[in-house]
């Protein structure tokens, strides 16, 4: 079981939360996102990606996709906001 699934189980809403997306923001300097499907747009001010249910947008300054794997990525930079539409 993944770390996030363990937390979800602890929360008690594993059906809804598990398997979707998970975000960890490290002091606003970097952000780890798990559960992405596709990248939509990359720029230094905005990174847009699709998740299972929605479109996840990360805004900030000097953004850089530091590490991108199949379903996870790390974005570095001055993270301003993260929201899902």
């Amino acid at each position: 079981m993944s770390f996030f699934n363990e937390i979800a189980s602890a929360i008690g809403d594993s059906v809804r939360t598990a398997g979707n997306y998970n975000i960890i923001n490290y002091n606003g300097d970097s952000i780890y996102i798990e559960g992405i499907k596709r990248l939509v747009s990359i720029s230094e001010e905005k990174v847009i990606m699709t998740v299972k249910k929605g479109v996840l947008t990360v805004t900030g300054v000097d953004l850089c996709v530091f590490d991108l794997e199949k379903e996870s990525l790390i974005i570095k930079g001055n993270i301003r906001a993260t929201y899902v539409e």
């Binding site: 990248l39 996709v65 530091f66």
Partner: protein
């Protein structure tokens, strides 16, 4: 490196044709091997412990599609940056580079490798500096090897023992320059040194890469030289008798001695000749001397005689300052000075100088007078020597009208001992 694959009549089965880049390059550039820059030499390589990686610069549009394609191909993308416009840079692991280049070529992107990182890439790119690196590595190895070994052996406080022989003896025991320090035991070294002939005691210390040994040598016992009084011969003589009151007689009757020879030593020895103690030497030593004294004298001499006239001068001194500087009243004089201090109210010193006028008087002597004078003078030198049958004869040798040489021949028996110390 530029790469642009044109598919002339080429079809891909089961897959739609890959869209061409919107702004293809105006001129087709020759395709170069992946990973190589366009003729400008090898790419720079960074030292990294994160494995071998390549940084690829990609030119084209719809870069997110490329990213998704690479991601779907399980290619890990690292440090994706968009410097601006149609350029994008990303880093991939070297083992995934061929797959990446294949996808880039398939999607007709223009790409080139701009940088490498990793241990092998770094050293391969700097292989021309291998000599310097090898020399540096050798120097480091030598440094770390030698700093842990003895480079120098110092042996101090040696006087009788040969330093070279002692070091050779240490080397025979495995203690020499080049020996590892952590394999040495100071106590063992000290035992080896103490076992060397002539060594009484030693101390060992290791400072840095220097082994220092301080040695105390064994010394043979030597009796201290007699420091008490001794009686020596004042003249060349033949010993006629010796009476030793204290000390040890070193001469006997009939022995010929020279001036300075020890007649009675200020020490006492046992019957085996071993030194016992010091004593002040004393005694009487008689000897027969035969001595000739030669002197060259002029017949005319100037004698300094007082004329009879005298003057006195007095000077006062107060707090170191003198009042009245006496000047000599005569051109030639003899003087006698006396002083007296009077500390009544102030420290006052009186200094009185008496001046006796003198004159040089030419005195002409006859040779006989000179000889007689010298004879008496030479005999007077032995007046306290308990002389017996001491005689002095003179012989005259004229040298010129005003110069003669007088030989005074003295012989007789007298005491010749002279105490020193």
């Amino acid at each position: 490196m530029l790469n642009n694959k044109k598919g002339k009549g080429e079809k891909r089965i089961g897959r739609p044709a890959a869209p061409k880049a919107k702004n293809p390059p105006e001129t087709e550039k020759p395709r170069k091997a992946a990973g190589k820059a366009d003729g400008r030499g090898p790419e720079p390589a960074d030292f990294s412990l994160n494995g071998e990686r390549l940084t690829v610069e990609i030119e084209g549009v719809n870069q997110t599609r490329l990213i998704n394609r690479l991601k779907d191909a399980d290619i890990r993308l690292i440090d994706v940056k968009k410097p601006g416009g149609r350029l994008m840079r990303l880093t991939v692991r070297k083992k995934e580079s061929q797959k990446t280049f294949a996808i880039l070529e398939e999607l007709c992107y223009t790409y080139k490798t701009v940088r490498k990182s990793g241990l092998f890439s770094f050293f391969w790119a700097n292989r021309r500096r291998a000599g310097i690196a090898a020399g540096l590595a050798a120097a480091l190895i030598l440094f770390f090897t030698l700093t842990g070994s003895i480079l120098r052996i110092e042996v101090n406080d040696l006087s009788e023992i040969s330093r070279r022989d002692l070091i050779a003896a240490l080397a025979a025991e495995g203690i020499a320059a080049g020996t590892r320090i952590n394999g040495l035991d100071r106590e063992d070294i000290r035992r080896v040194v103490n076992a060397y002939p002539g060594v009484a005691e030693s101390s060992v210390e290791i400072t840095g890469s220097t082994l220092r040994i301080h040695v105390i040598e064994k010394t043979a016992y030597l009796p201290p030289p007699p420091s008490g009084r001794s009686v020596i011969a004042a003249y060349d003589a033949e010993i006629t008798g010796i009476v030793t009151a204290s000390g040890t007689a070193r001469v006997g009757p009939g022995r010929r001695v020279k001036a300075g020879d020890v007649l009675i030593e200020g020490a006492v020895y046992d019957t085996n000749g071993a030194f016992m103690r010091e004593v002040p030497a004393s005694g009487t030593v008689y000897g027969r001397i035969v001595k000739t004294v030669t002197e060259t004298v002029p017949l005319d001499v100037y004698e300094i005689r007082r004329t009879g006239r005298t003057k006195r001068r007095t000077r006062l001194s107060l707090f170191g300052f003198s009042i009245g500087r006496p000047t000599a009243p005569y051109a030639a004089y003899e003087s006698r000075t006396s002083s007296a201090a009077m500390n009544v109210f102030v420290p006052l010193t009186f200094t009185q100088t008496a001046y006796f006028e003198t004159e040089s008087v030419l005195v002409t002597r006859t040779p006989e007078e000179i000889c007689e004078t010298m004879r008496r003078e030479r005999l007077a030198a032995f007046i306290d020597r308990d002389a017996k049958n001491l005689t002095a004869e003179t012989r005259l040798e004229p040298l010129s009208d005003s110069l003669i040489r007088v030989h005074v021949h003295i012989q007789g028996e007298l005491t010749i001992g002279q105490t020193i110390g």
